[in-house]
């Protein structure tokens, strides 16, 4: 069991492991080599005592034979009996001597062993006490590690939440911008339509002006013809005037008979004068009208207006280009939005997976807590043994009880570990012995 404990300790990467190994080694029973050494010593003493006794016996028998004969004669017994009594007495003496020597040697060995054991017990107690202190320190460190990892994980979760929140805000902003851009696009489209209408009007303007000019020129030609008519009226009025003068001359020649005719001639002359004046007025009005029309035609010279018209056309083209540029920008914006949305979705998925990985902290925290609990129980066992005094006549199997208790503790710990999942960081899909990682009933 202790070997198993040592092996288990060796397999764990825990701090202060050497010290723990020392403790496990201290719990080992006394070495067999020491015991056989004591046994050989006792054998040697026994053999020495028997050899010495035999030698002594032989010498005494040899030297005491005459004395035994004397004794036989004195007690009126046979020589053989006297010798037998002598040998027997000497045998008893030798046996007693050997026994005494053996006892003394045994007691000496036992005393030394007891002292050794007592020292060993003290050493073991000191070792266990040190080990209990190590356990205590380890427990503190384990609790600190659990607390630190929990604190770090919580901070990490907060940061990840902030990250996700920022990504979400970015997406919301883009969505909002997309809506605004759609509204703006509608306004721009309407504006561009209006500008296209204006541009179309401006483009058609030269033709319309040309048509108007042609109409005015046609009227101009017609009016010019009227100038000839005014001349004719003027000529007719002059001829009429001449005729009225001739008629007045002829009326004067005729005397009284021509008096009425002279009145007619005077009237005709007045009519001719008025006709001439009317013709003059018409001619003058036509001249004014024609010069006004000519002036208007001169002012609407298309050659002079061509530059302005070209500029107007360029403005329309610029608006069309602007519309195309806006459509391109809008398309780019849509693509950008789609890409950002896709990346944001992937980011959210990765964040969710990363948050899932943070469950390792809980798994490891529980594992450390189980180790901590085991250390606490082991510390209690060690402390109980360190409080025993040798003078209190402790039960001889007390160390054995500690060993059994440690064995049970180890067994419980291993069973507890086996009952909990041990995720393989490389592949979380592996199944544990007791069932699948994900099971739907």
């Amino acid at each position: 069991m202790l070997e198993r404990l040592s092996r288990w300790l060796a397999s764990r990467r825990l701090p202060k492991l050497d010290r723990l190994r020392e403790i496990a080694a201290a719990l080992q029973p006394p070495a067999e080599a020491t015991r056989s050494q004591h046994f050989r010593r006792l054998q040697f003493i026994t053999a020495g005592a028997i050899g010495l006794g035999t030698l002594l016996l032989s010498g005494v028998v040899y030297l005491g034979y005459p004395w035994s004969q004397h004794l036989a004669r004195m007690l009126s017994i046979s020589d053989a009996l006297a010798l037998a009594v002598l040998v027997g007495a000497l045998l008893l003496l030798t046996l007693a001597l050997t026994t005494v020597l053996l006892f003394r040697a045994s007691f000496g060995i036992l005393n030394r062993e007891q002292e050794g054991l007592s020292h060993q017990f003290d050493d073991a107690q000191r070792t266990l006490s040190a080990s209990a202190h190590i356990d205590d320190a380890l427990q503190d460190q384990l609790q600190l590690a659990v607390s630190d990892s929990e604190s770090s994980t919580l901070t990490l979760i907060t940061r990840v939440n902030d990250l996700n929140s920022s990504a979400r805000k970015l997406l919301d902003y883009l969505q909002h911008s997309d809506t605004n851009a759609s509204d703006m696009a509608s306004d721009i489209r309407e504006g561009v339509d209006e500008m296209n209408k204006i541009a179309s009007f401006v483009q058609q303007l030269p033709d319309k002006i040309r048509q108007n000019n042609q109409a005015v020129e046609s009227i101009f030609t017609e009016v010019k013809h009227l100038e000839g008519l005014a001349g004719s009226i003027k000529s007719i009025s002059q001829q009429t005037n001449m005729l009225s003068i001739n008629a007045a001359i002829e009326a004067a020649r005729a005397g009284e008979a021509g008096r009425g005719f002279a009145v007619v001639a005077a009237e005709v002359r007045r009519l001719a004068t008025r006709s001439s004046e009317a013709a003059h007025t018409i001619e003058s009005g036509l001249d004014h009208a024609l010069s006004a029309v000519q002036k208007s035609l001169n002012e609407s010279d298309l050659a002079n207006a061509s530059h302005e018209l070209e500029q107007a056309n360029q403005v329309a083209e610029a608006f069309e280009k602007l519309q195309h540029s806006y459509e391109d920008m809008r398309q780019f914006y849509k693509t950008l939005f789609a890409v950002v949305t896709r990346h944001n979705t992937e980011l959210a998925e990765q964040i969710a997976d990363m948050l899932g990985l943070l469950q390792y902290q809980d798994v490891e925290s529980q594992r450390l807590t189980r180790i901590n609990n085991t250390l606490m129980q082991r510390q209690a066992l060690y402390t109980a043994v360190t409080q025993i005094s040798v003078d209190d006549n402790p039960e001889p199997d007390r160390l054995q009880q500690l060993t059994d208790a440690l064995q049970q503790l180890l067994q419980e710990y291993l069973e507890s570990e086996a009952r909990h999942s041990h995720p393989d960081h490389a592949s979380a899909e592996t199944e544990v012995d007791t069932g699948p990682r994900i099971e739907l009933f």
Partner: protein, 124 residues
């Protein structure tokens, strides 16, 4: 209308990471630190569409919580998933008997968890 999930776990890191992970997936999340708190929430009117619970918790463990939650009115058919480090078959069987819908060992990735939730929660 997002589905509501009640997360029951005594570890603050578990509660926070699950809450964040499930909220990213579009769920509304309620939390409780042990079975007693969770039962109180259910009694106070919280109506989750699904419950995720740890098994080893102080005050009231997950197994006992599943049994008590199932006995509450309106909770008979709500899916309950156990998310735990406990892998003992006997505990699984006990949870199953008391009405658990599934058993997931920690750690379970966010995507796997959402996949399982969508399996047991139609329309999620």
């Amino acid at each position: 209308m997002p589905k509501t999930i009640l997360v029951v776990d005594d570890a603050a890191t578990m509660v926070m990471s699950l809450k964040a992970s499930l909220e990213i997936a579009g769920f509304k999340v309620e939390t409780a630190n042990d079975g007693v708190q969770a039962i109180d929430k259910l009694k106070s009117g919280v109506k989750p569409d699904l419950i995720i619970t740890d098994i080893n918790m102080p005050n009231m463990g997950g197994i006992e919580f599943i049994g008590k939650a199932r006995a509450l009115p309106g909770m008979r058919f709500i899916p309950i998933l156990a998310l735990t480090t406990e892998s003992q078959q006997a505990k699984r069987d006990e949870a199953k008997k008391l009405g658990a819908t599934g058993w997931l060992l920690k750690p379970t990735s966010g995507s796997d968890l959402v996949k399982v939730i969508k399996q047991v929660l139609p329309g999620a």
